[in-house]
Each structure stands twice: as C-alpha cells, then as structure tokens.
C-alpha cells in the first residue's frame, strides 16, 4: 500500500471540485492517513480555473503539491488537465472528464479550443484515463453527480476500499442525494478497467 501521495484536482469554478476533494480527503483519513488539503476562495472562484491540492501520508507538513510530484490528477475539464502538466511526472495517472468548457477567449471567437491537447500528455508517457463523467451521471439520473463519478474513477488508483468511499458518501452527503451519488461513484469506478 502506498504510504503517501499527492492528488491534484483541477477544473472550472462550479464543477463540484470542492465536494470531490472533500470525499477523497475523508476516505484517506478513514484509511488512517494524515491529510492536508489546500483550496483557494474568493476571486478565483468566479468561473476561472480552480484547483485543490490533497496530500496524504504518515505526517503531512506542506498543504501544497510541488511541481513534478502529483501522483494523480483529477481534471474535470480537458484544458484544465493540460494546464497542470508541470505538476505531473512520468508515472502520474490523469483521470480526465471529456467535458469542454470554452474559456472566454474561445467563447468570444478570438482563439480556438486545442482539440488534441490530451495527446500532449500521453505523448509524454503519462497514463491518461478519459471518461465521460456526464454520461455516467446521466445514466444514474442526476447530472450533478458527475463529480462523484470522477471520484469513483480516481478511486481505482488509491488503496482505500470502495466501501470506505461509500461510507463517506453516506456520512457527508445530504440524505436526498446519497443513493444517487453512491451509484455514480460505483459507475465511475467501473469505467476505468472496463
């Protein structure tokens, strides 16, 4: 079992990164690790790029992941996966949602969305797992569970058992959304090795 690691979450404000990183943090705490997580609030949340750093181990000091040391990148949007390339190393795993959210310059027609950008990661030998989290969320009947489907896919790369994650969802998610989030987690988890 891996004794320490760095999980970077990236995406666009409003995609549910906070909940995804919280559930993951609780699962790692349950697995007996010390955990630290760093977020940025305020101006950064208004539809801009957002990130959350999660580090676990026996004793974690720094709340920030160093460049070149993210073991897992959970990217909620394609461009926001590519943007964090300097944080990755050759053995990193990238779980990326295939959703595209056009940045302002693209939405205004001033720039184009770089279509084959994920190749830049795979060309460097990085393990990229692209999943359509919205399709998964749609199948379980609640589009807002796309973030938890992402956590499900990512959980394959962690030692914590799926049951730990399901227990965390039971504990931390509002009753009305528990079942559907658990389904999204399991559907997301199955995607990776199918």
């Amino acid at each position: 079992m891996k004794q320490s690691g760095n999980i970077l979450f990236s995406g666009v404000g409003g995609q549910g990164i906070l909940l995804a990183s919280e559930l993951t943090a609780y699962a790692q705490l349950e697995a007996g690790f010390d955990v630290k997580k760093s977020e940025v609030h305020g101006m950064a949340q208004r539809g801009g790029s957002v990130e959350a750093h999660l580090r676990y181990g026996e004793r974690v000091y720094s709340p920030l992941i160093d460049p070149g040391t993210a073991d897992i990148l959970v990217a909620f949007e394609i461009l926001e996966a590519a943007r964090y390339l300097p944080y990755l190393h050759k053995d990193s795993a990238v779980v990326v949602n295939t959703q595209k959210i056009l940045p302002p310059a693209v939405a205004l027609g001033k720039m184009t969305y770089p279509d084959t950008i994920l190749d830049e990661l795979t060309d460097r030998g990085i393990n990229v797992v692209a999943i359509d989290a919205f399709a998964v969320a749609g199948e379980v009947g609640e589009l807002r569970t796309a973030n938890v489907a992402m956590v499900g896919a990512m959980s394959n790369f962690l030692a914590a058992s799926p049951q730990t994650f399901l227990d965390v969802i039971d504990e931390k998610v509002k009753p009305a959304f528990r079942e559907v989030n658990k389904q999204a987690f399991e559907a997301g988890r199955k995607l990776v090795y199918n």
Binding site: Y26, K37, G42, Q45, G47, G48, L79, E171
Partner: protein
C-alpha cells in the same frame, strides 16, 4: 465514522479552526469585515453559543467594536484581511497604548500571491510598527491552539495581540482536536481614564508602559513553547515561521530548524544559540525579509532573500531550488493554452452597467473592489482604475477637480453596495461638499458577493441572516446632499444607457443606483427565472450578444461552406449559442438581439 461532530478529532480549515479556537478561548464579542482569506472565521464563530458576532461596515469599525468590548472586560476578537488592517490601523496603533481589560486579538489574513487581493503587503511589519506581539501558526491545528495563547498574552501584557495567517493557513484543511471552552468573565463597567483616555498627558505615560511591556514580551519569547528548536543533522540550520515552516520540513527533513510561533518580538537569545550550532543559517520566509532584517540587526549573519524569492507564495520545491539549485529535477514545460480568468457570472447584474460603460470610450471609469472589478476584463474592458476599498468615488472626484470643466461628462465612479457602506460614503460626502462633477454608480446587488454573500447594512439582514434595518441608499445619498439620485435596473440595457448618459453629462454630482440582486443569492437560485435560448435560424452572426462576455454565450465560427450548409449566407462568419444550463435568465442578450434570435423559454 471518525471526523464527525461526535468525534474529538475534526477535519477543519484554518478559518474554521480559528473560530473554534476563539470560542474555546472564551471570546464573547467579535466583529469583522469580510475579506479573502479571512471571511469564514466570523461566519463560523457566530454559530457557537455565547459569542456575539457581527459584520461591521469596515475594519476600523470592527476593531473599535472589539476594543469597546475589551474595555468592558470580556475577551474580544476582530478579523480582517491584510489590507483591512490599513483601514483599522488608526485604532490599532492607539489600542497599543491603551491596552484593554479583556483580552483583545486582531487577526490579519495575508494573501501572498494575491489570489484575491490588490497587493501582497506583509503585515508582520504592523507588529513592529505598532509595537505589538504577533503570533503566526503553521497549520489549522496550531492555529486553534494559538488562539488560546494569543488571549493569554493579551491579558498578561495588557495589549492587543496580532494573529497573522496567510491563504495557506486560512484555506488549508487539516486534522484539529476539539477542546473545552474556558470559563468566561462577566462584562462590567470600570472607568480607567489614565489608561483609556489618550490625551497627550496620559499617552506619554502609556508610551513608557509600551516599552516595558515589549521588554517583558521579548523575555517571554525565549521560553514560549510556540518558539522551539527542532534538532537535526547537517551544516545548515533554518529559521522559519507560518507556512514556510511546512516547506522547510518537506524540503530539508533532516535539518535543524528554529520554528517561530511568535514572529514579534523575536527571541534573540534563542536565535543566537541556534545560530551558534549551525555552519550556515538560512531564514526562509514569504514576502518581506522581516525576520532576516531583525536577525541581521542583532549582528547575526544569515542567508535570506539573497536565496529565497521575495514575491509570491513559496512551496517546498521553491525552497529546495533556492537553497540547493542542483537538487531539483527537470519538469514538464507548461503548454501554451488559452487562459481561463475569472468572469462575472451568467446573469450578473453588473454586466449591464459595464456593457453600457464599454460603449462610452471617452469616459474614465474609476473602479473599486468587488466582483465588479472583473468589468476590467475583455470583452467589456470597462474599468480604468482600481486602488482600494472606496477609492472609486474619491479618485473620480480628484480627477474631476484636476480636469476642471474639461472633466464634465467624462468621469464615473463604480462601486458596490458593500464597498459604498465600507468607505464610499465619506468620499461621496466630500464629492458633494466640494462640488464634484463626477457621477457615482452604486451597484446595489443586495449583498457582499465577492467574498461569498455576507450581509451588510444595506441587505436588511444581520450576520446570522436575521432581519435587520436596511439603510435606504436613495435617502442616504439625498441626506448627504446629492442633488440627482436615479435608480435603474441594469438588466434593462437601453433604459440604463439613457439614464447613465443624462447623469454623466450633468455638471452636478449625481448618483445612479443600479439595483438588481446577485443571481447567486439563495433566494434568486430558488426562484430560478425562465432561461433564454437561441433561435439559431435567425442568428445573423452580428455578435451583439457575444460582446456581453456572458459565460453562457459561445461563438461558433463557420467556414463559408459550413455557413451555407446551416442555411446562412456564405458571408456569415459564425453564430452565437446560449448554453441553457448556464443561463440565469437575466435577458440582457435578448434586449441586444435585433434579429429575434433569442427567446425566453415558455414564451412563443
């Protein structure tokens, strides 16, 4: 399951931990003004029993409220972001003379890297300048524990104690252990004029007390458990505090470290002893060479800003690279990608105002601090200055005076309701008194939106969401003496344009209140308006709606062949489309569309 409310161990952010620490330390009165990264402290603190907490209209008011509570013998707390301390500096420097009765702690949340701020000033300098002790924790657990120490020191040395955090303390989550609340004192009235009335005669006597107190604090610093030496190996020793300690521990886990929990005054003996045990002394700190300068003033040789960056945040990679450049490996180079800056939300009422201002190319827009500062960004690009809270009004007035009659019809100030309450009002008073010809636009979205919807004196609710008096902005402006006060709905773009043009042209001071609630307010989200959609066959590709810069509207370019395929003329360069899931139903785009290509759902 662990880490729930029944467990002694909690998973808390630094701000949540500080709120818990303040409650455990027996705080009874707290006041603050929202500001990233300090905001969540007050929001969490008022959830505890036995604490009175409030949002003040600005930081000076907040600190003075806390001083009053301290004078009444209870433990009091004031919270603010780093630039807020500038606003509160006046009472701070004199509270250093008066001291109090109940412990008084003033929290400054600094923002290295300027994630959400206009500057990255290092507020450790305030501790030196105001002659006050300052504590600085390294993580949420320490932040909670240090609140207790801060109040004890404040009462023991009869002075306010400064408590500094940074973004990587405030917004970092970690494991924190819950404790018990200490017994609290009852408030009482006691007249102590020699201590509380700062006339020169009294103040001179208190001035001498400050030096005695700082000497005593310096002595205590040598024994304070929050200052500690962690033994290690190797020729290098590090001195650090706050989050920099974490980076040193990760970058050089074996090295001896002097960790300072109190960053002012400094434990000279301890530093001297530590320096004597290492071959090379390195001070690692973010921003200013604060520790370094004072350590060098002791005659101790050390490295500091000759190695460590003096701007922005650090991390363990940067520390390792600064100290041992050869030890860091190659990184993947960043890709050249379109940036994704923050943007005003879909349906944001501010957009209607900045759209109109963007059409007035010869008008200078003096801006202010809030979500609406994003009006600076393209495509609206309708802000020409932004200095600090409240400066929109005063900078506009100064420009109008410098320009004289030339300036009539050319200078506009834009600020939000909360910023107007904070420090825009006094500027407006001045503008009227001294006959400005500038126009002031108050963006009244009924809340303090940028920091996450805190209520303010214009919201009609207090910090807990309970009903409170709401100041009437129109009447307030009239009482100040503004001869022309108009109210517009910013979503009605054409009508707003008409009013703006009239008021900007007027040689008298005028106020336009742009009133529409923030679309993210819970009541607005609940009462979700019908959304708009694009009748693609009618779109002429004129881009009128695209120029609003709404995140729900995207431009899709077309080649001549693709245009023809879609039934457009081959000259049409593209079409615009609304993402209905993002639309908040403001209707600004529908008003701008001259081709009947945008309609409301549920209407024919």
């Amino acid at each position: 399951m662990a880490f729930d409310e029944n467990d002694n161990k909690l998973w808390l952010s630094g701000n949540e931990a500080i709120a818990l620490g303040a409650w455990e330390a027996g705080v009874q009165v707290a006041s603050g003004y929202p500001g990233t990264p300090s905001t969540e402290i007050m929001g969490n603190l008022v959830k505890y029993e036995g604490v009175y907490g409030e949002w003040a209209p600005n930081e000076k008011v907040g600190l003075e409220v806390a001083i009053g509570a301290s004078f009444a013998g209870v433990r009091a707390f004031a919270t603010m972001k780093h630039v807020g301390v500038n606003v509160a500096a006046d009472p701070l420097f004199t509270a250093s003379y008066t001291g109090g009765r109940g412990g008084l702690v003033v929290l400054t949340a600094d923002d290295p890297q300027m994630h959400s701020s206009q500057n990255e000033q290092d507020n450790r300098n305030y501790a030196f300048a105001a002659k006050l002790p300052m504590l600085e924790p390294s993580d949420p657990a320490e932040a909670k524990a240090m609140m207790q120490t801060a109040f004890e020191l404040s009462e023991r040395f009869d002075c306010p104690v400064l408590f500094r955090t940074t973004t990587r303390i405030a917004h970092v989550k970690g494991v924190v252990e819950k404790g018990e609340r200490v017994p609290t004192e009852s408030a009482s009235m006691e007249k102590m004029p020699a201590k509380f009335v700062m006339l020169p005669g009294n103040a001179r006597l208190r001035r001498a007390e400050i030096e005695k107190r700082m000497a005593a604090t310096r002595e205590l610093a040598e024994k304070l458990p929050e200052n500690r030496i962690e033994q290690g190996n190797g020729p290098r020793g590090f001195i650090c505090a706050g989050t920099s300690y974490n980076y040193v521990k990760e970058a050089f886990p074996e090295a001896p470290v002097l960790k300072l929990g109190m960053v002012w005054p400094l434990p000279e003996g301890m530093i001297r002893d530590f320096a004597a045990t290492v071959e090379e002394l390195i001070v690692v700190e973010e921003l200013d060479p604060f520790l370094e300068t004072h350590i060098k003033a002791m005659g101790i040789d050390c490295h500091g800003k000759d190695l460590i960056p003096d701007q922005g945040e650090l991390n363990s990679f940067l520390v390792r690279k600064a100290v041992d450049p050869d030890s860091v490996g190659e990184l993947f180079a960043p890709l050249d990608l379109p940036m994704r800056p923050p943007n005003m939300c879909a349906g944001c009422p501010h957009r209607g105002i900045f759209y109109n201002l963007s059409k007035m190319k010869d008008v200078f827009v003096s801006g202010d601090i809030g979500c609406y500062t994003l009006g600076f960004l393209p495509p609206l690009s309708a802000m020409d200055s932004c200095v600090c809270m409240g400066a929109s009004v005063t900078v506009a007035h100064g420009m109008s005076k410098a320009l004289g009659e030339e300036g009539t019809g050319k200078v506009v100030a834009v600020l939000g309701d909360s910023t107007f309450m904070h420090s825009g009002m006094t500027g407006l008073l001045n503008a009227v008194y001294n006959e400005s010809n500038a126009t002031v636009i108050i963006l009244d979205n009924r809340t303090t939106a940028m920091t996450g919807h805190q209520n303010n004196p214009a919201s009609g609710k207090n910090i807990k969401g309970e009903p409170a008096h709401a100041v009437n902005l129109e009447k307030l402006c009239e009482a100040i003496g503004v001869p022309r006060v108009r109210v517009v709905n910013p979503h009605e773009i054409t009508q707003t344009q008409k009013v703006l043009k009239e008021e900007i042209a007027s040689p008298d001071p005028s106020v336009v209140i742009s009133r529409a609630p923030c679309v993210l307010l819970p009541e607005m989200v609940k009462a979700k308006k019908p959304v708009y959609f694009t009748n693609l066959e009618n779109c002429s590709g004129c881009m009128a709606c695209v120029r609003l810069g709404c995140p729900a509207i995207s431009w899709h370019p077309l080649t001549p062949e693709q245009a023809v395929e879609r039934g457009y003329t081959k000259k049409q360069k593209g079409y615009a489309e609304i993402a209905e899931v993002q639309c908040n139903g403001c209707g600004q785009c529908a008003e701008l569309c001259k081709f009947d290509a945008i309609s409301k759902r549920g209407e024919n």
